[in-house]
């Protein structure tokens, strides 16, 4: 699965990376993982309701791509969105408080897990309808092109969404109009509970842009350095006005589709094997230790720091008040 494509793809190359950058990746991926674990805990305690889709296992994708972004670049994704928000610098407190439906949340408690936005960080949601974010993301890129800047839009969607018709309508127009959009397919192997081989006629989703003349690459999405290297190629092409670019990130989600997923469609062994052999955070941890860039104690300090941030976010999310009842009637129209 992951290894097959990674070996075949052009993404085996790795950029030179500094100690600082490796540490940054470690820290950012760990923040997402610990944040998500905490969210799962709060869900179990009944503090988070409804749907809650965790990003655990896929951290290298957003962290690697954010390393290629510059100010003004935009991002948009599906309902599995907590990792994207943390990676682009949104405040963990505001994200967690939105999960608990509190006034201190990014959407003041009115959006929930699937619907958060930050104009300041150019994060355009958080969309609950599978694949709807694909044309919306191309629309963000349309605006940048219209306004004449060289920003790009990272448009994330899953292997399940890749079967939606609007994706191909969007590929057509994005290529036709040379829109600066990076289509990031996060292929975590399962569309909810349906394995890719049971839902998708051809395995190589990154080749689906070929019909529209869009370049595509399969990337080892468990290797943050490979992700960054591929991201740099895609972003450079977009900024140079060459139109859209497809990156199929071969990744894996350790947890269920949502919190209510009984996970009958795959074996415990399969999940455990990925965790043991391909974990993105362990990978960077090893690079840091074996390369002599950090000691165990250094990393323990990072772990402690992240734990504190996540605990602070959880505390804020528990104590932030529920929205005022008057908020029911606000923000319907401007």
């Amino acid at each position: 699965m992951v290894s097959r494509k990674a070996a075949a793809g052009a993404s085996a190359d790795r950029p030179n990376v500094s100690r600082e950058e490796l540490l940054k990746f470690y820290r950012e991926m760990l923040l997402i993982r610990r944040f998500e674990e905490k969210a799962g805990q709060l869900y179990g305690m009944g503090l988070i309701g409804g749907f809650c889709h965790l990003y655990i296992g896929q951290e290298a994708v957003v962290v690697g791509l954010e390393a290629t972004a510059k100010e003004g670049d935009k991002r948009i994704t599906s309902y599995r969105d907590h990792g994207h928000m943390l990676a682009c610098g949104m405040d963990p407190k505001g994200v967690m408080a939105e999960l608990t439906g509190r006034a201190g949340g990014y959407s003041r408690g009115k959006g929930g897990s699937m619907h958060m936005f930050s104009k300041e960080k150019h994060f355009y949601g958080g969309h609950g309808i599978v694949a709807a974010q694909v044309p919306l993301g191309a629309g963000l890129a349309f605006a940048d092109k219209y306004l004449g800047n060289d920003n790009v839009s990272f448009t994330y969607f899953g292997d399940g969404a890749a079967n939606q018709g609007q994706v191909y309508e969007t590929f057509n127009m994005a290529a036709l109009w040379s829109l600066p959009v990076v289509f990031v397919i996060e292929n975590n192997q399962y569309a909810m509970g349906t394995a890719q081989r049971r839902s998708t006629s051809s395995a190589d989703i990154y080749t689906r842009g070929a019909a529209f003349g869009i370049k595509g690459e399969a990337v080892d999405g468990m290797d943050v350095l490979a992700v960054k290297a591929a991201g740099q190629r895609a972003v450079a092409a977009c900024r140079a006005g060459k139109g859209p670019y497809i990156l199929e990130m071969m990744t894996y989600r350790y947890r269920g589709h949502s919190m209510s997923d009984p996970a009958k469609y795959r074996s415990r062994e399969e999940v455990q094997k990925m965790r043991d052999e391909r974990d993105a955070i362990e990978h960077v941890r090893e690079l840091l230790l074996t390369g002599g860039h950090a000691t165990d104690d250094d990393l323990k300090l990072v772990d402690r720091d992240i734990k504190a941030i996540v605990n602070e976010a959880a505390e804020f999310a528990k104590t932030s008040p529920e929205p005022d009842l008057s908020a029911l009637w606000t923000d319907i129209t401007v």
């Binding site: 003041r108 619907h115 605006a143 018709g165």
Partner: protein, 454 residues
């Protein structure tokens, strides 16, 4: 006897047209498929081809004639075996031709009813007026707003090089260029999403649907992406976009192309919904819609596109949302309508006046927000109400108004409110059945007589 060549119907709604140019003259031999003339409809200038081979006997309608009714003989053709003598046009056929001497190019089909209501709060008294069609009013509104704001752009199928499937965007490509007047592939779901995304990022798109029937493919983006984002983001991010295009029945286009979506969209919080009747309202409300910070559904009507009205000749003329217009004051019954329903409402009011029944006619103009106060105040005066709309009866705007009137003015009612609507059937194609499915002024008259116990 020669074969008569008749004025063709070149669009579903065409009743008459102009003979822009003859490309043949009497005595010319023509082949099947040869272009005989250029005919201008309300939508476009079309080439008209010969069906049969033969020699042109006579041109019965001069070049430049306008207002030529469909099926009027416009030329004669002598086919093989006929002689020129036998082909000479009969006096009866020849007669209408000279009569069709060029009429003023933009003559209104029929004088629209003039509002009798004293209050016209939309423009100051004494404002100079100009006559224009709904089509021209919509085009002018877009052109003015695009000139005013660089972030406004027009996107849709055939809006550019084709000059608009219904000619609403005629000339805009020339005026504003391909960056701001954007032809799309036929992919409503995709391009609606792209337009909404660009609005998130600060542009102000006008998205034309060739008709609102096709917007069904895009309704997820209209509702889930455009209408709900402001709320879901806690007020952080809105979606300033206008979705516009013809809505409702045209003529003889069958079930899939003849649906009124007024009640559908009016149900959705987060949208604003506009459905103008007159050209002045079309212009003033479209300009307001383009400046509005919310997603606006702007429901036009193909049959109304060619109707002419008086429009205030002001440099910057807008009409606020949520204000009904009283077209006609009356004392016996309140008729509430909007969009093309106003044609039936006003025609019914004329007929009723002739029978001594005084009807007050209110055009809602916007369906979200709705100007309830104007309706309630009128019902409190007349004590009776009939609603008129083209859409289906179940869950109609009329149903909603009836409930509101019942809640707010129950003690004023002297009769139950009646909802006149289209029939509860998919639109049939056959001419007689289509006529039966659509609303008529006579149905409105009958409803009014029922509530006034006449």
């Amino acid at each position: 006897m020669a074969t008569e060549i008749l004025m063709p119907a070149l669009s579903p709604t065409m009743e008459e047209g102009s003979l822009a140019k003859w490309l043949v003259k009497a005595g010319d031999t023509v082949k099947s498929g040869q272009i005989l003339a250029e005919i201008e409809t309300d939508k476009a200038t079309m080439e008209f081809e010969a069906v049969d081979e033969g020699v042109i006997g006579a041109l019965l309608v001069p070049e430049g004639a306008s207002g030529v009714k469909v099926n009027t003989p416009i030329a004669t053709l002598i086919v093989e075996g006929e002689t020129a003598a036998t082909a000479a046009p009969t006096a009866a056929v020849a007669a209408p031709a000279p009569a069709a001497a060029p009429v003023a190019a933009k003559a209104a089909p029929a004088a629209e009813p003039v509002p009798m209501a004293a209050a016209t709060p939309d423009w100051p008294a004494g404002t100079p007026m100009k006559t224009m069609t709904v089509r021209e009013a919509l085009r002018e509104a877009m052109a003015e707003e695009m000139a005013r704001d660089e972030t406004v752009y027009l996107m849709g199928e055939e809006v550019g090089e084709y000059q608009g499937a219904y000619k609403i965007s005629q000339g805009l490509l020339d005026q504003f260029g391909a960056r701001r007047v954007i032809d799309t592939p036929i992919t409503e779901h995709g391009f609606a999403g792209i337009a909404v995304g660009s609005a998130f990022a600060g542009l102000r798109p006008i998205l034309e649907f060739m008709t609102f029937n096709f917007a069904m493919q895009a309704i997820d983006h209209i509702l889930n992406s455009a209408a709900k984002t402001l709320y879901m983001s806690g007020g952080q991010m809105g979606c300033p976009i206008v979705f516009r295009g013809p809505n409702g029945a045209a003529a003889r286009v069958g079930a899939q192309h003849s649906q009124d979506y007024a009640a559908w969209y009016a149900q959705v919080p987060g949208l604003k919904v506009v459905m103008p009747y007159s050209a002045a309202d079309a212009k003033g409300l479209l300009k307001t819609a383009i400046r509005d910070g919310n997603p606006v559904i702007f429901l036009e009507n193909e049959i109304l596109y060619g109707r002419s009205f008086e429009v205030p000749d002001l440099p910057d003329f807008t009409i606020p949302f949520g204000k009904a217009r009283v077209w006609r004051e009356g004392t016996d019954v309140t008729i509430v309508s909007f969009g093309i329903g106003m044609v039936h409402a006003l025609a019914a009011a004329d007929k009723l006046a002739a029978e001594g029944i005084s009807a007050e006619v209110i055009d809602l103009r916007t369906l979200r927000p709705i100007d309830y106060d104007t309706v309630i105040a009128s019902v409190q005066k007349t004590n009776r109400c009939v609603t008129v709309e083209e859409g289906w009866p179940v869950g109609s705007i009329g149903n909603h108004l009836s409930a509101t009137i019942m809640e707010r003015a129950f003690d004023y009612l002297d009769a139950p409110v009646i909802n006149c609507t289209g029939k509860d059937v998919p639109m049939p194609y056959a001419a007689n059945l289509e006529k039966l499915a659509l609303l008529t002024p006579d149905e409105v008259v009958a409803a009014v007589k029922k509530v006034t116990y006449r």
